[in-house]
Amino acid sequence: MADQSWLTEFPDMSRRELLGIRKTLDGAYRDFSRAYGDQIEAFFDPLLSFLVWFENLLLNTPWWLVLGVLAGLVYFMSRSWKLCVGVSVSLLAIGYFGMWDNTMRTLSIITVCTFLAIVIGIPVGIMMARSNRAQSIITPFLDIMQTMPAFVYLIPVVMLLGIGKIPGVIAVVIYAIPPVIRLTNLGIRLVPHETLEAATAFGATPTQRLFRVQLPLAMPTIMAGINQTIMMALAMVVIASMIGVKGLGQPVLKSITNQYFTLGLLNGLAIVALAIMFDRVSQSYAKRTQKHLRGDHNGK
């Protein structure tokens, strides 16, 4: 009755075949990473040296200067004293609890990741908005990037580039980029048809339409996407610490393995504080630049 066992057991492929597939794929990828790993690493070298430079800059500058510059930046972006004081107090508390260096490392990598995600994500989003075909091709990839467990795509990245900052950055960017792409696409598609038609009717070139109508009008949506991207990048910090990215994630990882509750909590809170800083500052910057959306302002 062996030939009827498919009724009770799933007729899966034999272990041997599966092993064969795995061996071939793993082998092919290993060969690929051996053959091209060095070139790819060399390609990312400028990024690595920038990362190192930026991190050292934040670490080697006296803390009060960094604090001052950050507070100034916050004020410049948000024009709000309240926010400025809040950020300074949180940073002082972080420093007081001995997490200054790790916070600076996380800050540097998050800044670079967010920047990369925006620089790559917005053009991809624009492309998606312009062509339905591009949208139908890219959307499934975004779905995969957002749902695939982060550990899974850490494997090939580590195989290719080893452990360190660059694979960390790549993993964080892959994880965090979908919102900015999706919301750029959505924002541009939601621009009122008649407004766009008006621009065309007055002789706007496609570039003028993009930069003077579509992007400005999509900006609130795009800013929401950037915000999400920042939050997701911060959430990824702990996972990235597994492949040797230094920062607030590493003490958290250590706390998990050793059950250090307080250490984990403090570092977790520091990540939360960073997240809130990024969020409030980017939100109020967005609000300030979108003054036409405020119904009550008097034209100033």
Partner: protein
Amino acid sequence: MENNSTPLIEIESLTQIFGNTPEKVLPKVNDGMSKSDVLATTGHTVGLRDINLSVNRGEIFVIMGLSGSGKSTLIRHFNRLIDPTAGKIKVEGEDILTLSPKELIQFRRHKMSMVFQHFGLMPHHCVLDNVGYGLSIQGKKPSIWKNKAKQWLEVVGLEGYEDQYPSQLSGGQQQRVGLARALCTDAEILLMDEAFSALDPLIRYEMQTQLIELQGKLQKTIIFITHDLDEALRLGDRIAVLKDGEMIQVGTSEDIILNPVDDYVRDFAKDVNRAKALKVKHIMERSKNRVIDCDSAEGLADAFKKHDILVWTKSNQLQGVVSKNRLAAYQAGRIDSPLLHQSSVKEKDYLQTVLPIALLADHHLLPVLDSDNQVIGCLSNDAIAEVLSPSFDAA
């Protein structure tokens, strides 16, 4: 007014079919297959079918139809926001379908501008930047276009609103901004797509008045889309009626009201305020049968053999309206004057301005004068009553 003989815009056998493979469906449409059959057999929608029209320099050409008749689709062909499936669109003799993308942009910047139903303003630009939009994308210096935009804002009566954002203005104000933006590029042709339809009736009337005043000064060529016949009659030098993507009738206001080509146009025209749309010249009696020129009242006696009431002129100067009985009484010395009344109307007066005069004048006859105050005919109350009666049935 030069070049009045050659139309500024000519549209020749324009057809628009919406669907995946319009060119395959085109022969069927050309063979006269009905809109519903085309949709049933091919899944394509016939937007416009074989449209032919010409627009003269300096006129307001109104395209009228109910929603779904294709009027908004049609106006979008004038500046190629939509490209047709077949046909030609000529502006000053040049087929604009042959323009390259760069030439098309230049064409849109300098030849035509457009006003939209829902204004189509840039919400992120202030009013001044909106008005100057056309010039600013042409690469003009801000000092130049800001100045010009300010002037046009004044013309439409919105000075002081320069720094406001569109969302802070009322609908009527927003459409004034839309109008100023369209005028600011000095384009010769103005496309107005249901420009006043989104406004409430009072503001709409005000905007129409403003447009008529502006047109008096600027002499643009205006293509105006509307679903409102009253608006069409008020603004249009000529009116085209569109139904299901086909052009049914093109003509002046009185053509549409007095000579509708079919029941569709007749239904349209039925509820319109004819006293507002028709002028004296459309219903007056042009013959001089009842106009008698002689030096003295006595000379009129002969003419009363045929008519009871006459218009009396002396060396072409209007004296007044005379009746047989009144003349007899005058000749018998019982009254001082043989005249019934001395009222008159101009041929270009609208019926609504004539009505009170007609009601007050005795014996239902009014002399009609041309612009040189010469009597050219007469208007009877019967004619007015006939054309204004609810049961009026156009030929």
